[in-house]
């Protein structure tokens, strides 16, 4: 094994080589005509299409507008998942009976891919906002619940004993003992939820939606505009990455703050 870590320079050199090879292969294959343009447009064509879509509309809206409507659905779905999943998880961590009741239901539903809720979501809530929000919810809910539950379940028993000796009631026990102790686990869960929710959003919009990036991609696919499809993929990737980076920063900030408090 090349066990010695590379120096910063070496890493940069190899990284650059990787990127150049990747882009070179892509544009070489396409501009030489080995792969038809319609099949895979060269990188510069995708880039110019991306810039063009920032201002000119496709499938009824410009790229930022599509992203806006996607993001709104996404925010609703994830917030709803957190608003239900986290409290339920904490309650399950405290009340054994609730745990015993919810866990079998949850285990039964766990193996159904979130995307399989699409038909019912469309039937119950339509294809505007409600349907996609429900699918995002289905994707983002499990990590919220599981992490809040684990966080509450594995609180140091000494803390609970001490609080109980002081006669703490159920509400204060959950809000002032379990919740603060579970925060790191909850935040980690939220990060996973945010990723899964974004993934579900794309799926939901590919199937049921009348606006949004996923919708734009399906429309572009229908009219064989590969560059537009790839623009959608890149936009989705960038927004997903920004969400992840922001949440990571939030998590780190929270850790630091708690570290100072402790």
């Amino acid at each position: 094994m090349n066990s010695t870590p590379l120096t910063w320079r070496e890493t940069m050199a190899w990284s650059l080589l990787g990127v150049v090879l990747f882009l070179g292969l892509w544009s070489g294959l396409t501009t030489s005509g080995l792969v038809p343009r319609q099949f895979l447009p060269p990188p510069q064509e995708v880039a110019s299409r991306f810039i063009q879509l920032l201002t000119s509309p496709f499938a009824g809206a410009t790229l930022p507008q599509h992203l806006g409507s996607s993001f709104m659905r996404y925010a609703y779905g994830v917030l709803l998942a957190a608003a239900i999943g986290v409290p339920l998880g904490l309650l399950m961590g405290w009340f054994r009976l609730l745990d015993d009741i919810v866990t079998p239901i949850f285990d039964g539903l766990r193996f159904i891919a979130p995307i399989a809720w699409v038909p019912f979501a469309a039937l119950w809530f339509g294809t505007g906002i409600g349907g996609p929000v429900m699918i995002i919810f289905a994707g983002a809910f499990p990590p919220c619940l599981i992490n809040a539950y684990r966080g509450a379940r594995f609180v140091e028993p000494r803390l609970i004993e001490a609080a109980r000796m002081l006669g703490t009631g159920h509400t204060r026990m959950i809000l002032e003992i379990l919740l603060p102790a579970a925060v790191p686990s909850i935040v980690a869960g939220l990060r996973v939820s945010a990723g899964l929710g974004w993934q579900s959003l794309v799926g939901a919009e590919l199937i049921v939606a009348a606006a949004g990036v996923g919708f734009m991609m399906v429309q572009a696919q229908g009219s064989v505009q590969t560059a537009t499809v790839m623009t959608g993929m890149i936009a989705i990737g960038i927004v997903g990455m920004i969400i992840d980076v922001l949440l990571r920063q939030g998590e780190a900030w929270l850790r630091r703050r708690r570290g100072l408090e402790a």
Binding site: M1, N2, S3, L6, E10, T11, A13, W14, S15, L17, G18, V19, L21, F22, F39, L40, L97, D100, I101, T103, P104, I105, G108, L109, F111, I112, A113, P114, I115, A116, V118, P119, F120, A122, L123, W124, W198, Q199, V202, G203, L206, I207, G214, M217, V218, A220, Q221, V224, T226, V229, M230, G232, M233, I234, I236, G237, I238, G240, M241, D244
Partner: protein
């Protein structure tokens, strides 16, 4: 022996079924156009089981989906694990491949579906391609992490004994990384099912996702539920199967037993 937990679990399931009856058949609070009654569910199940629906019987739809997941998953493992091992082993490979990964990874696997359809059409190959994309990333990342987490002294010891490179990979690196590799495989399997169902919902001619799609277009809640139950059962069965393989493969590892 069923413990307290088991009894409450059974009670919950019984209560849910009773509630389902009560809300649909008995009182009709939930109309059949929104959610099927148990009788409607049963009729839909019998229909697709015997006469078939959406161009085939339930078994053939399920087997087709299962086949595609198995193939996509197999291709993903066959490419993902070696790449992860190589990136873990060779720092130069890691440095060269990582940036490409960083660019491609944030794109959700489902976002590849339209491109895959453009490239390969609505047939099986497009689905296998997307499953491969979605299952590939977790395999690579976890294998890579597994190699990087190996205790250094173990590798040093093996190297001091003059272990040749190939035996090193096969008998030291791969086994030591295998717990994390299996974590990756479980994530890959889950991703495979999600992706397949989504791909079949977007465009297919056969498969459980296609059944869901047809049932949605026919406004047929009973069949939607049948499709969802099938998706859940298939996901569950393959996960159990993978768990069995994992227990066999890791039987030497005490940590994996609990």
């Amino acid at each position: 022996m069923i413990g307290r937990r088991g009894w409450i679990g059974l009670g919950t399931v019984a209560a849910l079924i009773a509630l389902w009856f009560l809300l649909t058949t008995v009182t009709g609070i939930v109309s059949g156009a929104r959610f099927p009654s148990p009788a409607e569910f049963w009729l839909s199940l019998r229909q697709i089981w015997g006469r078939g629906y959406a161009g085939g019987q339930l078994i053939s739809h399920a087997l087709h989906s299962l086949k595609l997941v198995a193939m996509g998953f197999a291709v993903a493992i066959a490419t993902g694990i070696p790449l992860g091992l190589w990136m873990g082993w060779n720092r130069k490979a890691e440095a060269a491949i990582n940036p490409v990964f960083l660019v491609i990874r944030p794109i959700p696997p489902l976002a590849w579906i339209p491109l895959a359809i453009l490239w390969l059409g609505l047939g099986d190959s497009a689905k296998i391609l997307v499953i491969w994309f979605s299952a590939f990333v977790p395999s690579v990342i976890n294998t890579f992490a597994g190699v990087r987490n190996i205790d250094r002294p173990m590798i040093e010891a093996a190297r001091m004994l003059g272990t040749p490179r190939w035996r090193m990979v096969r008998e030291v690196i791969a086994p030591a990384a295998s717990p994390l590799i299996f974590t990756g495989l479980r994530l890959s399997l889950q991703a495979s099912w999600t992706t397949l169902v989504a791909a079949e919902l977007v465009g297919a001619l056969v498969g459980v996702g296609f059944v869901l799609n047809m049932a949605q277009q026919d406004l047929y809640p009973g069949m939607i539920l049948v499709g969802m139950v099938t998706v859940g059962l298939l996901g569950w069965a393959t996960t159990v199967l993978l768990g069995m393989v994992e227990r066999r493969a890791l039987s030497w590892n005490m940590a994996a037993r609990d």
